[in-house]
Point group: C2
Chain length 305, copies 2
């Protein structure tokens, strides 16, 4: 970012990301240990879930909780469930009938490593398991039931037919039938923005945030969610596939609408930068507590993978 | 049934099924009206959801509620969500990478009518929407939150990687690698029995049943769930495809283990009859109130589709 708010202090994001990814990975492994059996299905679920991802959604969930309060075991559970839902969406999007991708998170995609039937079912299973752990009795003293129902509802709406899944439908339909800028933004909001927003509001809700603070965090999330996608498109043009863990140039070969194609590379970078600035404006209200969110927004725009 | 309990009185099941299927179909259409937009995704979801199914799971959910108390709007919502989960499982099981079936509920399967990508996403969307409506705020006065979290958890477990999805994995693995009787029973319990049991316990819980009565109903459900599957296998050998709305003879051509193949037809019929008798024993405690469950069990064993 060119103009960080004056309240910004140096924040060691690298250390934070290592710590929080490690926390998420350990928590996911605990869930696996507790729930998984020795089966091909669980092998496939573990394979995709534990492949080295950025863990962006769970990290944002934890960061939102920290901004308004603190991380507790409920927040970690929610973050893990959200990562399961994200992983299921990647497994299904990569299928031959959809994007037909062979590499994901630097490894063969689930259907390549296993087979198409197993990949479909592993995705289904990760989605279902997320709702299992959100509703697990051992995690919810009675007084928290209302909040958990609200979280389940928000996440189901973000991930469902009026959210992520409709986004994927529009993404597929956009191949060879390019979208205009407004439709492209709407598609991205549905496909990735809605779940990113839900990740942040879930963390804030479980961290004890007020309604007003959650609203600010949601504005932050909507803006960095779209910025993330713009940067994804830029990286698909000029990224380094060895760093990204997936192929580049695929958007053009599929004749898909992208921000670089619609706006040019320089304008796309400016658009991403504007979005990140909007995001930072929205969380100024948190003062120094927003340094973490500021650093995360900067990471999203400057990332190479 | 050859020996109905002496307490049995004539029960007009045909009328009951028509009424309750109609109630479920109207309620599903209300959910569709409220949640669906004009999109290919929603068209595919509606197509499969509203195809003429037996509505066995929602009917059992309603019947369980009636046995212990009465049907209320919460029970109907739960029944609709369970039917969505069942429909999603049919859409995915029918895919070319799995059972590759072309006909379901008397109509072309979802991937034949639409395409494979749309069918995968329509299944994903129905599964996610079920959890959306289970957790919908408008349906839950605060005091019910605990019960709904419990229901979400039971259904997610029944439908998840330790339930229905693992059952489908084992069913696929069983092709050309036939299972023994115990493994076949276990596979069926996972693939269909667990969700049938959850349908009954959900109805009983929302209908106000005691822990003890729910236990009796679960025993009933486990037995009729397996009986249903045994009859399915028998119908796959000697059923009338025009009545069933799907192909017959497919188990043998896929070299799948079935009860008729393992036990012979006569023994399979006896096994189904024994299971139904077990089911009826379990609900004797409800006296005349069990007449509905008795009639449903008889229907399951005598059905031609």
């Amino acid at each position: 970012m060119k103009n960080p708010p004056s309240s910004a202090k140096p924040f060691d994001l690298t250390k934070y990301l290592v710590e929080k990814r490690d926390l998420i990975n350990r928590s996911l492994l605990q869930i696996i240990d507790k729930n998984f059996t020795d089966s091909r299905l669980c092998d496939a679920m573990t394979y995709s879930l534990m492949a080295p991802g950025k863990r962006l959604r769970p990290v944002l969930c934890l960061a939102a909780a920290e901004t308004v309060g603190k991380i507790n075991s409920n927040v970690i559970t929610a973050a893990c469930g959200i990562e399961m839902i994200h992983t299921y969406s990647l497994i299904h999007d990569d299928l031959p009938a959809m994007d037909n991708d062979n590499i994901r998170r630097g490894k063969p995609t689930c259907h390549v490593k296993f087979d198409v039937a197993t990949a479909i079912l592993a995705g289904d299973a990760l989605l279902t398991l997320a709702f299992d752990i959100f509703s697990s009795r051992s995690l919810h003293p009675n007084k928290k039931s209302n909040i958990w129902l609200q979280i389940i509802n928000e996440i189901a709406q973000a991930a469902g037919p009026m959210g992520m899944i409709e986004g994927q439908m529009r993404d597929i339909a956009g191949e060879n039938n390019p979208l205009g800028l407004d439709d492209l933004k709407k598609m991205h909001y549905l496909k990735t923005g809605a779940l990113i927003k839900a990740s942040v509001s879930t963390g804030a809700l479980l961290g004890g945030g007020s309604k007003a603070s959650i609203k600010h965090l949601e504005t932050y999330a909507s803006n960095i969610g779209l910025a993330f996608q713009v940067v994804d498109d830029i990286l698909n043009v000029e990224g380094d596939p060895s760093k990204m863990g997936k192929a580049i140039g695929t958007d053009q070969s599929r004749n898909k609408s992208t921000y670089p194609a619609l706006l040019g590379l320089a304008q796309s970078r400016q658009f991403a930068s504007d979005l990140v600035n909007n995001a930072l404006q929205a969380v100024k209200i948190f003062g120094n507590k927003a340094n973490l969110l500021l650093a995360l927004a900067t990471y999203i725009i400057e990332r190479k993978r």
